[in-house]
């Protein structure tokens, strides 16, 4: 998927950075805003942050690539996150991941060719009492199984 730099979003980001600059340690909050505004932090966006914060692009790139929440590639329209934390793992999360992989023909970390879905393994989201758990965007599905995963994806496709 090609990344397009939107002027309105650039203005939004610069406004956020101006706010964060007033306190010590502005880089991490600025990166969170960039990820939220653009959906990813490719080199073009890193350059903007570099200028605004007077930090080298190399430094910023090093920080972006360190943290798994920051991505340099755009994500799909819907993000499916399968929790592979311990409680979910021992209750069969791997099978749920596999059925989604088979349905959408993508591996964790990849986006489907039509740009509809990105599949991710997620870090534990703390709903271990309802293991195994997966999310589609912000909706959390607890006590999940392969059928629930299939149906959830079908519903998203219908909508």
């Amino acid at each position: 998927m090609k990344f397009v730099l939107d002027e309105k979003k650039v203005a939004m980001l610069k406004e956020c950075i101006a706010k964060h600059k007033q306190k010590p340690g502005p880089l991490m909050p600025s990166l969170h805003d960039a990820q939220s505004i653009f959906g990813c932090i490719p080199i073009e966006v890193q350059k903007i942050i570099s200028e605004e914060l007077n930090e080298s692009v190399a430094k910023i790139n090093g920080v972006v690539t360190f943290y798994s929440n920051f991505t340099t590639e755009p994500k799909g329209k819907h993000v499916i996150s399968v929790c592979l934390g311990t409680a979910c793992y021992v209750k069969g999360a791997k099978e749920i991941l596999e059925v989604i992989q088979d349905l959408l023909h993508i591996n964790p970390g990849e986006t489907s060719a039509d740009g509809m879905f990105t599949l991710e393994n997620t870090r534990c989201i703390g709903a271990c009492g309802l293991a195994p758990v997966f999310k589609i965007d912000e909706k959390v599905y607890g006590a999940a199984n392969k059928d629930i995963a299939k149906r959830a994806i079908e519903e998203v496709l219908k909508a």
Binding site: M28, S68, C128
Partner: protein
């Protein structure tokens, strides 16, 4: 300006509302609306209750959203409390069930028997929880500061600022015996005193709310259900060590906790409980959130500091310790959420009260997150010294689906697996370390006879390899090599020499890695080797996985029960099955991908794992 009198007035007013003092035969109805509750559909239940109560014009009901009640697997949860304090807990409430509760219980005073907790929870009821860190979770509305005040919220801060010196505060925390609840177990009072020794200048107090251990959600419950307890404790700690600025470093994977904390901080500022001249004293304290970004290593205190500073989250050499040289080179205290949650209670009820609970060297209580193959998953808080058996079989209700207990993992990826032989161990910091595990943050994952312990070791190691920051060679290269050996064993290509190498490597890494992530990464491997060596040997010598989990070592086999219907053949995605109609079919193992579709589709259960 906030005063103690203001607190008392606010408390009295809210108490009247909560205890239904103005409503004859009234009820307080609370709905669990933390992450588990909301995931299970609690919002719809809350809305249904509100709709029914409004439609029936009931004016004697106080309907309130609350945080985590603790019974995560039984959500959505609704608790009805009458004016005598008698509580009825309803589980797995549906919209229809919510209507019944209003009709039968709220209108007519008759609880709906078939929906109460005794129908759902299998427990022998002997073990009583003692909720200190979780005292307000599931009890108060976390978005209403007045409900926090009602339960003595901010009373401790008022007492500390108007009646005590910083040294007196540190003394109380020391004498209480409180130890860090994040996993390290370092004495909290001692840590505070080491920081306070650095006189003058800027200092920082930080809350580690990164809670990265998979399977741990204790801190999430406190942050979502009782955020003010952390805010109050950090202000108290700031006063004690001389810090005017606090930061809560919270993982971005907890959006509800972030929202509730921000809301609570704004409320505290508005009420004058944060900011300038708190309680009319010279003490000023500012607090804000800083978000993590998906790096487990940032739960390590020096990596956390690096992250706030805007660096890659890589740990630093200690000494110097953060208490002397921390955030931006200034003396800093970092404590865990649960550690902080205990502080206001200790100030109000006293150090002797806290120290009267627990064991000789591990005082107070601990919150555990019980997960895995157990009947009652959820949170519990019990005194230190409670045994694993009491937790797993008492509160936990034993192993789910009638299976046999195999192991319990304590301490997350840094901990070890304990077996049946260890179940009567009293849980405390030192006992668990002696068993080659650790308390960790409190996550407890129960495993049963169907879990392969070699697979579990590989799972943990995959996690730590992925999360390794890469700075030091032992962790960066060593854990990767350990994982390669494990993968070799699981794929059926392992040798006895591999087991020896795995063990040696593990011990080297423990000794030489820079930070606790690397130093503890080998623990799951070492403890499974110690307690389940026979499984490793089966994988390596017999080329078998005793629990039939490791796919490379299992074979699908069609027995004589086969009726030749051909369903398996049609369903097989690898065309690995051959056979004629009405004749016993055969699987070609060299083509089989172990997808399990044949076994699932067989109408006569003729397919087994050999």
């Amino acid at each position: 300006m906030i005063t103690l009198d203001y607190l008392n007035d606010a408390k009295a007013q809210t108490q009247a509302k909560i205890k239904l003092q103005n409503h004859k035969n009234g009820f307080r109805v609370v709905v669990g609306m933390a992450t588990c509750g909301l995931t299970a559909g609690a919002k719809e239940i809350y809305d249904t209750l509100l709709h029914e109560i409004t439609a029936k014009k009931l004016d004697n009901i106080d309907l309130t959203p609350v945080g985590c009640v603790g019974e995560c697997a039984l959500e959505p949860l609704v608790e009805v409390i009458d004016h005598n304090g008698q509580k009825t807990t309803y589980c797995k409430v549906t919209a229809e069930g919510a209507k019944k509760i209003v009709e039968s219980h709220l209108c007519s005073g008759n609880p709906v028997g078939e929906m109460t907790i005794d129908n759902f929870k299998k427990t022998d009821g002997a073990l009583q929880q003692v909720r200190i860190a979780l005292r307000n979770c599931g009890v108060i509305n976390p978005e209403d500061i007045n409900e926090y005040i009602c339960y003595d919220g901010y009373k401790a801060l008022g007492k500390v600022l108007t009646e005590m010196t910083p040294d007196e505060v540190i003394h109380i925390v020391k004498e209480s015996g409180l130890r860090g609840r994040g996993g390290g177990g370092f004495p909290t009072g001692l840590k505070w005193s080491l920081c306070a020794k650095n006189k003058g200048g800027q200092k920082y107090i930080i809350c580690n709310a990164d809670e990265g251990d998979p399977g741990a959600f204790m801190d999430r419950a406190v942050l979502e259900g009782d955020p003010h307890s952390v805010i109050e404790a950090m202000a108290i700690g700031g006063y004690a060590i001389g810090a005017s600025q606090g930061y809560i470093y919270i993982r971005a994977e907890y959006p509800l906790a972030v929202e509730r904390l921000n809301h609570a901080i704004a409320q505290a500022y508005k009420a004058g409980l944060l900011g300038k001249n708190i309680f009319g004293t010279e003490f000023c304290f500012d607090l804000e959130l800083r978000l993590g970004a998906g790096a487990f290593v940032c739960g390590e205190e020096t990596a956390l500091i690096a992250s706030i500073e805007g660096e890659r989250g890589m740990p630093r050499n200690k000494p110097p310790f953060p208490a002397d040289k921390g955030l931006w080179g200034k003396p800093s205290i970092i404590n865990n959420v649960e550690t902080y949650a205990n502080i206001p209670a200790i100030i109000i009820k006293g150090e002797k009260w806290f120290a009267s609970m627990g064991t000789q060297k591990s005082k107070g209580t601990k919150v555990f997150a019980l997960g895995g193959k157990i009947n009652n998953t959820g949170l519990l808080e019990v005194p230190m010294g409670t045994t694993l058996r009491e937790v797993i079989y008492g509160v936990g209700g034993g192993i789910s689906n009638g299976k046999k207990f195999k192991a319990v993992q304590t301490g997350g990826p840094s901990g070890g697996c304990l077996t049946e032989a260890h179940l009567d161990t009293p849980i405390d910091y030192d006992n668990l370390i002696a068993l080659n595990s650790m308390m960790g943050s409190g996550g407890m994952i129960v495993m049963d006879e169907d879990n392969c312990m070699v697979d579990v070791a590989q799972f943990y190691l995959k996690f730590t390899v992925e999360e390794s920051c890469g700075k030091c060679t032992p962790c960066r290269e060593g854990t990767k090599k350990m994982l390669e050996i494990l993968e070799k064993i699981i794929s059926g290509n392992g040798t006895m020499e591999d087991i020896t190498e795995l063990e040696e490597l593990a011990l080297y890494i423990k000794d030489s890695a820079l930070c606790a992530l690397g130093q503890s990464a080998p623990n799951p491997v070492l403890s499974t080797l110690a307690n389940f060596r026979d499984e490793y040997i089966a994988h390596v010598v017999d080329k078998k996985c005793p629990t039939k989990v490791c796919k490379a070592l299992i074979k699908y086999f069609i027995t004589d029960k086969c009726i030749g219907c051909g369903k398996c053949k049609r369903n097989c995605p690898a065309q690995a099955i051959s056979g004629d109609i009405k004749k016993v079919h055969r699987i070609d193992s060299s083509r089989c991908t172990k997808c399990n579709l044949c076994k699932q589709s067989c109408p006569v259960d003729a397919i087994i794992l050999a």
